[in-house]
Amino acid sequence: MPANKFNGFTNLGIGIGLRTAHYQKILDDKPPIDWLEIISENYMVDGGKPLEILDIVLEHYPIVQHGVSLYLGSTDPLNKEYLKKLKALTQRTKAPFLSDHLCWGSVDGTFSHDLLPMPYTFEAVIHAAERIKAVQDFLEIPVCIENVSSYAEFLASEMSEWQFLSEVSERADCGILLDVNNIFVSASNHDFNPYDYLHNIPLNRVAQIHIAGHSQLKKYLLDTHDAPVRDEVWQLYGHTIELIGKTNTLLEWDANIPSFETVHLEALKANRFIEAVENQLSKSA
């Protein structure tokens, strides 16, 4: 199951996000990392240092692109200039697949620069699925959709979040970037069982998993990506791996970024869950 058509039949291992704080370490030492994920928009530029660094990194590591501005759920028309730049970047990186969020972020041409939650309606399912198909056709590589952390639910919703994710991915025939930290954050914020979420989505579509740290605020959890992964999230990750097997896994750490070693070691904790599942499999064989 881990290598599938939604991730370009890749089994990349455990990666981390490429962040400016670690550029020098990565360029100087070329540490052994399975793969790196870039935020596409940071490299959709015409020149300069970002592309110079990207080109060097590409010589040493597999890269997967993760975007934050496709806004697959927005009602604005798809931005052709954006898509052209994104496609040019995929040709540069030779990324086997890319991902962005199942969310919206702009309306009538004004951008929020946030990953805003979708209303879980049938109209939104059809709308998002059509856009994903169009994007996938244009980019000519698999596009995976990521579940976002959310802090609000809409009165208009007609289904649960996991039903929405399932409906959209099935209808668009696309992969899922399953963010288990986001499931945990949203589950806490909206009072649902995160394991119900996991057990009710098309797991055969999972192309990649995200893990990250979050913050506990007074009344809710905030998806800050500024700390180690919480134990509850690791447990959820472990259960996901039990269900689907070893899958491309990536740790996101976007604020208060510690040393490269700290981030990488945190990501490698995923190995204990992967090894446990693989041991179980070998015993049963």
Binding site: I39, G48, T110, Y151, F154, A156, E158
Partner: protein, 314 residues
């Protein structure tokens, strides 16, 4: 409104965007909506409450995130302006700016593109330091462009030989900007020891980071500056007035002969037609040659490009 079937996707997104892009009041969502009704009623039209949070509180999280993210991004890109104005005045300026110029680009990189113009439009927000604030913003925006704008293959020494001085219109690198400033903004930004930390996209949620940087005010000084990139590092290069005028003419689409003639004519006006004037002209021609050689070495010239008037200020 609460009837599920009556709110379409676009309407719902507009309702939410209107709320989250509205300025905060004392770091909280405003309690009163635009029409004078409680914002809690507005939120309750489309946001579901739960045991932990009201509709208002849930919407407020996104309202705060919008402002934190955008303020942080511009604080990063305009660190010098933030240091100059202090974070209270800077925030007030940016909130007013984003109200007039909300983002119309998918990338945060473009967020500050209208900030210099806005400072000129609303001088009271930076008074009595508007000119200086404007010039800091201008230079910081030029840095952003220099950081990641396109680099075109520069003219080689060989290709210069086939240039017709009377016909060829040279173009300059898109990353190059010329600035005429009345304050030594370059020295001011250099003393901040500002690394070029252009804001980058991330999918983590923002927690507001307020940066306090102390710096001496920029000195009043009439300077001419080229903001450019070399080996993918952004640099400032001071120019003299003649160099600025010559480069400006070339960037405005003049041929080499036209640009040089204009400059010599301007100098003639300032000199009497005597031996000293002729000697000065010869010195000027020699300086032009030297400058041109330096700019060639820096790779600033390309061939047959279009005009790039936005690269010259004023």
């Amino acid at each position: 409104m609460s009837n599920k079937s009556t709110i379409g996707l676009h309407k719902l997104q507009s309702l939410m965007a209107n709320a989250i892009m509205r300025p905060l009041h004392n770091d909280d969502m405003q309690g009163i909506w635009i029409d004078g009704s409680p914002t809690s009623e507005y939120a309750a039209q489309f946001i579901k409450p739960n045991k932990k949070l009201t509709s208002f509180e849930r919407l407020e999280i996104y309202n705060k995130q919008y402002w934190y993210r955008l303020l942080d991004s511009l604080q990063e890109d305009f660190a010098g302006l933030n240091a100059f104005l202090g974070h209270m005045r800077f925030d007030a300026l940016i909130i007013a700016y984003l109200n007039r110029y909300p983002s119309h680009s998918y990338t945060l990189r473009d967020l500050g593109q209208n900030l210099p113009d806005f400072i000129r439009e609303e001088t009271h927000l930076t008074a009595p330091d508007s000119q200086c604030a404007y010039e800091i913003a201008l230079l910081e925006w030029a840095e952003i462009k220099a950081f990641d704008a396109l680099a075109i293959t520069p003219l080689s020494t060989d290709s210069v030989k086939i240039i017709s001085p009377t016909e060829t219109i040279l173009s300059t690198q898109p990353y190059l900007t010329l600035l005429e400033l009345h304050y030594a903004i370059d020295d001011f930004l250099l003393q901040l020891n500002k690394e070029h930390n252009q804001s980058v996209e991330s999918n983590g949620v923002s927690c507001r980071t307020i940066r306090f940087i102390k710096a001496a005010r920029p000195k009043e000084q009439h300077i001419y500056l080229a903001v450019h990139r070399l080996n993918n590092t952004v640099y400032y290069k001071r120019l003299d007035k003649n160099q600025f005028l010559l480069l400006g003419s070339l960037m405005a689409g003049k041929t080499l002969v036209q640009a040089c003639s204009e400059l010599i004519d301007k100098k003639k006006d300032n000199n009497t037609r005597n031996d000293t004037g002729i000697q000065n002209q010869q010195k000027l021609i020699s300086k032009i040659n030297n400058s041109f050689a330096t700019w060639m070495e820096l790779g600033w010239f390309t061939k047959y490009g279009g005009r790039q008037n936005d690269q010259i200020h004023p």
